[in-house]
Symmetry: C2
Subunit: 109 residues, 2 copies
């Protein structure tokens, strides 16, 4: 997913087309489990982390974790790669930076 706009939200009005593209990314972050998943992925030492290390960190079934990972994938927030038996996830820093830039506001006066 390419993010077409990245001017801060408070600088000028976000156009409808940009909002339609950006909102799904925020929506994907709008679940506590996905927020933790993304954090675990983004903060992984080696830059990637195995699903087998993600799943046991929650009181949820495998399919549910898989569903949340798919949501993060479809939102363009993470990438997945299968290597042998295991699947590894890594964060996509570009879109994270753009979302952060969008929310950036001028420092308090």
């Amino acid at each position: 997913m390419d993010v077409p706009c990245c001017l801060p939200l408070a600088e000028r009005r976000v156009p409808a087309e940009a909002a339609a593209v950006l909102a799904p990314a925020f929506k994907a972050l709008g679940d506590p489990v996905r927020l933790q998943l993304l954090s675990m992925i983004a903060s992984a030492e080696s830059g990637e982390i195995c699903v087998c290390d993600l799943t046991p960190a929650f009181d949820l079934t495998g399919p549910t974790i898989s569903h949340h990972l798919r949501t993060l994938r479809e939102a363009g927030l993470v990438d997945a790669e299968r290597r042998g038996t295991w699947v590894y996830y890594r964060a996509r820093p570009g879109i994270l930076r753009q979302l952060a830039a969008l929310l950036t506001v001028a420092p308090a006066t």
Copy 2:
């Protein structure tokens, strides 16, 4: 809503309690209409904007806009103040900054 945590997502794993508090704010941003509403509010010249200026910008009924504004309010992203006949909304920069900080990642190597 006080946000208890603001270390970047990629620095260390977001604890479950923090995720439970943060996720609703992102969820509120996860709708194109609300994203545009917040942008219109945050980018208002005078720092605030009247509902009467917000509603006609969308192909939605008054109650629907009101519902979205309530969602933004309950997420702690905006404040509302009634002055006479009209209600004015303004952004809460603090929480926006914290959300931006959470998403901040190190610059590309």
